[in-house]
């Protein structure tokens, strides 16, 4: 992807479209995980890719691409999920079938969280982002992210039981923007 990114930043339109193809699964899966609705996730992911399409060349720091992309997807996800009426069940189609290799139904657990806590949990536990990076991505103070994670863990204990016991903030173990 590095070569595609470099070429796209240099103005190569074919590389830009190649880059969009490359990031599409990441964008869609992140949007789906925080929104909980397949159609809206597709909307958010497509719009995110369109933003990358239009604005990539305004990105000055190549190394900031991942963080920039996270911000775009999270912003679009936040925008589209405003359309979800209250009391509509989330994570309710076949896309969100529980993973057969584990007895934890993460989607059912996420559905019980408020949106801001769900965002923090997905970025922290599923994407291994640091809390300070999450703060920059969702544009809130660092302390707010830690509070959201703490509250999320309290709620998750109810649905995950013993599996929630090891849900503590593990600052030293996470990688930077690993996806």
């Amino acid at each position: 992807m590095n070569q595609l990114l470099s070429s796209a930043l240099a103005g190569d339109p074919a590389a830009l479209e190649g880059l969009i193809h490359e990031i599409w699964p990441r964008c869609y899966r992140l949007a789906a995980a925080v929104i909980g609705d397949r159609a809206l996730a597709q909307d958010a992911a497509q719009e995110s890719c369109a933003i990358v399409y239009v604005r990539l060349r305004s990105l000055r720091d190549r190394s900031a691409f991942d963080a920039w992309l996270y911000r775009i997807v999270m912003r679009e996800a936040t925008r589209v999920r405003r359309r979800i009426p209250a009391n509509v069940p989330l994570y309710d189609d076949a896309s969100f079938a529980p993973d057969e290799t584990t007895s934890i139904d993460v989607w059912r657990a996420l559905a019980q969280l408020p949106e801001d806590q769900r965002d923090a949990v997905v970025l922290f536990y599923f994407h291994d982002l640091r809390t300070e990076d999450i703060a920059a991505i969702v544009d809130v103070p660092h302390a707010t992210v830690r509070t959201r994670l703490m509250r999320a863990r309290e709620r998750l204990r109810a649905s995950l039981g013993d599996y929630a016991n090891d849900l503590h903030v593990q600052q030293g173990e996470v990688q930077h923007y690993a996806v």
């Binding site: 969009i20 193809h21 789906a32 000055r60 969100f96 536990y125 998750l156 995950l160 849900l167």
Partner: protein, 349 residues
């Protein structure tokens, strides 16, 4: 050690079936974004790219609706009205700043070929703030805020309310003017060069420099191709740059007898701030300010369409520079990606 929940989450994430990417849909959305000439893009983008005050701090605004906070290398900005001039022409430039409340020193020391593509003054009529956007060869991109020091507040904010969203800036003072540049657009060396040049110039000389950087054509769509278009546009006469989506709308516009009008100058007010961010989408132009002068009439549109159609270019992904001469229309197709610029000449009717 990663938690079991974390591992399960990652596995579940990977298990999500990803629908195929519909590249045409992404292209269409991208095009829509590019062509959106409404407020959201311009205000959020060109208005400084520095922080905006939170809604609860609106009450502390003074100074005729414009306030600027500068604290070290961070700044926050707020305004309630502005006059926005895209691709300003000489008379528009002079009129916009004629009654500025401070002796404006414009940016000098900019690279050769850099063009002044966008201008905003606030408040309209007697601006205490002038915002300028430049584009130039080599992806040069710079935005400047020039402000009357009297509107610059101390770093402390009014009592209570939401905290402002400060953005990173570079700032310096030249005479009776505060210059603010959003961080990251210009290198440190470029800022040093511009700051030094601005200190050595005068308001009149800098105004002359700024006017020499005005575009010799007007831009009705996006500004991505202005630098390329500037290489081809005749220095005199009437030239108009339209963007890709406008080119593709030609058949529909011709059928609807819907000519291109000059809507570059707008007066905006009613700015709304939500959760500390400017919500430009809910701002509206003040009715009656746009000139609505026809700049590409039906004959001109037909000339563009026929030239592009004859060369299989009607669906090209390109902006078009149109020049109306006494005896002929000249049309340049400027590809959005790499590719040669095509020139067509059509006898005027």
């Amino acid at each position: 050690m990663p938690s079991e929940f974390s591992n399960a989450g990652k596995a579940s994430l990977r298990a999500i079936a990803v629908p195929p990417l519909v590249m045409n849909a992404v292209r269409a959305r991208a095009q829509e974004r590019r062509s959106r000439t409404g407020l959201r893009r311009i205000i959020v983008g060109a208005t400084l790219a520095i922080g905006i005050l939170g809604a609860a701090t609106v009450a502390v605004v003074k100074n005729a609706g414009v306030d600027l906070w500068v604290s070290g290398n961070k700044g926050a900005f707020m305004m309630h009205s502005l006059e926005w001039i895209r691709s300003p022409q000489a008379s528009e430039f002079r009129a916009a700043v004629a009654n500025a409340t401070f002796p404006v020193v414009y940016p000098v020391g900019l690279p050769a070929g850099a063009k002044l593509v966008d201008m905003q003054v606030a408040p309209q009529g007697a601006p205490s703030t002038v915002m300028l956007a430049y584009r130039g060869p080599g992806e040069f991109h710079a935005d400047f805020i020039l402000a009357n020091p009297k509107i610059v507040n101390a770093a402390k904010f009014g009592p209570g309310g939401a905290q402002p969203h400060f953005g990173h800036i570079d700032t310096w003072r030249v005479g009776d003017e505060v210059v603010v540049v959003p961080k990251g657009l210009l290198s440190a060396a470029a800022i040093d060069r511009i700051e030094s040049a601005m200190r050595k110039t005068s308001p009149a000389a800098s105004a002359a420099d700024a006017q020499s950087r005005l575009l010799p054509f007007i831009v009705l769509g996006g500004i991505d191709r202005v630098v390329t278009a500037a290489r081809y546009a005749p220095s005199t006469g009437s030239s108009v740059l339209i963007e890709d989506s406008q080119v593709r709308s030609l058949p529909r516009r011709i059928a609807a007898r819907d000519p291109f009008v000059d809507n570059r100058v707008q007066s905006l007010s009613g700015f709304i701030y939500e959760k500390g961010k400017l919500s430009g989408a809910r701002s509206k132009p003040v009715p009656g300010v746009s000139s609505k002068k026809v700049v590409i009439n039906l004959d001109g549109m037909k000339a563009i369409e026929s030239a592009l159609r004859a060369h299989g270019m009607l669906q090209c992904r390109c902006d078009v520079l149109f020049h109306r001469g006494a005896a002929a229309y000249t049309i340049w197709a400027l590809p959005l990606g790499h590719g040669a610029v095509s020139k067509y000449v059509v006898p005027a009717t």
